[in-house]
Amino acid sequence: MAVDSAKLIDIIKVIADKITENREYLTQLDSAIGDADHGINMSKGFRAVVEKISDMGEKDCGTILKTVGMTLVSTVGGASGPLYGTAFMRAGQAVAGKNELDFNDLVSLMEAALEGIKYRGKAERGEKTIVDALEPAVEALKLRREEGLETALRDAVEEAKKGMEYTKDIIARKGRASYLGERSLGHQDPGATSCYIMLEAMAARLLDGKKS
């Protein structure tokens, strides 16, 4: 794998498209256990991101990722803005100055993103948040690192999906859904869902052309 700035921008645009496609779906999930704005906030944020990074092809990958993070932070609002914003900013720091990313860089930036979210949100796995999708994905990526990009990435997406689905079975302990207590059971977490959607979009674009 070799991702240069142009390709990175391309991947982020694909992520943005997927988030926009799922605007209603994410909002609907949030209306069950939150305040019905997750899809609205996220798509607003990624619309701004696409505008900001479209002509950043000359910049290094770290700068691009940091710009994504800062843009999300300043446009999304609510809980997901600072969370995803911090994730992208930390990811950018992890690959600061690089004009091309390899598989190892991908692992580092994903680790940094996860750390950023956990630092910002103080959530652990099992609390019905983004972490429930992201942490298993990052672990799979590290665990399968030896087996190469394709296997590792497919496994990571698979684990994210499982984590997202698992959020149906647990009680929310963090975020707005936690006020619901027991009543949050049975509902899939919007943030874990948007996280899965983003990972899947990224993987699909990275593996483009590879047989699935």
């Binding site: 019905a36 704005d37 932070v73 609002g77 609510g78 809980a79 600072p82 707005r176 936690s178």
Partner: protein
């Protein structure tokens, strides 16, 4: 959706313009940001207070910007926390060299966005402290959860910390008294009707003609129970018993009372609620030192109310008594 607005996308900007046009002697807006600051900001040598949150809670927060209360109010989208860059601009605009206290309501989004803004300000060498208000006893407070929400009790934090800052208190002192208020304030609310977020165009939940929701949050978050309509006295009984179970007050203690309308409930009804609240306190031998009845922390046009009790000591009493002069809260 029956609303006196022009465009759901621009309600916050238009509202802030309407506010600045109404009260130029009190406030101005930071160009390019949804931030309202004191007309005379920054006040040199005074600790500055910054509060904020989603819009739709008017007069919170910008209505409390003025002498003796806030230095800045940051307005997010309706029911959505403002972003760190907005809060950061507010901090920079009001810092008068004595430091800035952020007053945050305990919602995940608010806490994180204010925290990031604080980090940004600290990197620029501005002294920033923060307190988090969590007065809503409707939500269980346990180690497993994010803790109680912040609702109308926040206004008492604005008032009292604002008075301390106005009197020349240092940042640590202003923060300490804000924390004392937070420790001694409890609220709980209820709703008769939902409200409509302009951008959504329809209510986020429904209540039938004979139902009400007890323990409602200020963004339409679910409460502790949905029941048949109750009489005003029963509603007050219920809210007060939850509040008094949590707040350690006893006969001889003094409290401030706030009966807060959520937006669609007329003053007549709020006064009827206050009658009962005051009777209950009287029966328990708890002295009402001051009462506030009106709209302080609303949820758009939601019909409903919250009751807040603040347990007072001499320090809190004298700060509560201090004059304040803001668009929405005046005290002579």
């Amino acid at each position: 959706m029956k609303k006196l607005i022009n465009n759901p996308e621009t309600v916050v900007e238009e509202m802030l313009e309407g506010m600045v046009r109404a009260f130029p002697q009190y406030v101005r807006k930071l160009e390019g940001y949804n931030v309202i600051v004191r007309a005379d900001a920054p006040v040199k040598g005074k600790v500055a207070l910054v509060s904020g949150g989603g819009s739709g809670h008017e007069p919170s927060h910008a209505g409390y910007v003025g002498r003796g209360m806030l230095d800045a109010g940051v307005a997010g989208a309706v029911f959505t926390s403002p972003t760190p860059d907005q809060i950061f601009e507010a901090i920079k605009a009001v810092d008068g060299g004595a430091g800035v206290l952020l007053i945050i309501k305990n919602y995940t989004g608010d806490v994180m966005n204010f925290e990031m803004a604080r980090e940004m300000a600290q990197m620029e060498g501005i002294q920033v402290a923060s307190v988090t208000v969590n007065d809503d006893v409707a939500v269980e407070n346990s180690t497993y959860t994010v803790g109680r929400r912040g609702i109308a009790g926040t206004v008492f934090v604005h008032k009292i910390a604002g008075a301390k800052a106005q009197a020349g208190g240092m940042l640590e002192e202003v923060k300490a008294v804000a924390e004392k208020v937070i420790k001694n304030v409890r609220s709980m609310g209820m709703a008769l009707t939902p409200c409509i977020v302009p951008a959504a165009g329809k209510p986020n939940f429904t209540l039938s003609e004979d139902e009400m929701e007890i323990g409602m949050g200020i963004h339409g978050e679910p409460g502790t129970m949905r029941t048949k309509l109750m009489k005003a006295n029963e509603v007050v009984d219920h809210l007060m018993s939850k509040i008094l179970a949590d707040l350690p007050v006893e006969s001889g203690d003094e409290v401030a009372v706030m009966v807060n309308g959520l937006g669609g409930t007329p003053l007549m009804e709020l006064l009827i609620l206050n009658r009962k609240a005051s009777q209950i306190l009287e029966d328990k031998g708890i002295k009402v030192y001051r009462t506030y009845v009106g709209e302080f922390m609303t949820s758009l046009e939601m019909a409903g109310a919250s009751i807040t009790l603040l347990k007072l000591d001499d320090e809190l009493k004298s700060l509560l008594d201090a004059p304040a002069d803001t668009p929405a809260f005046k005290q002579l």
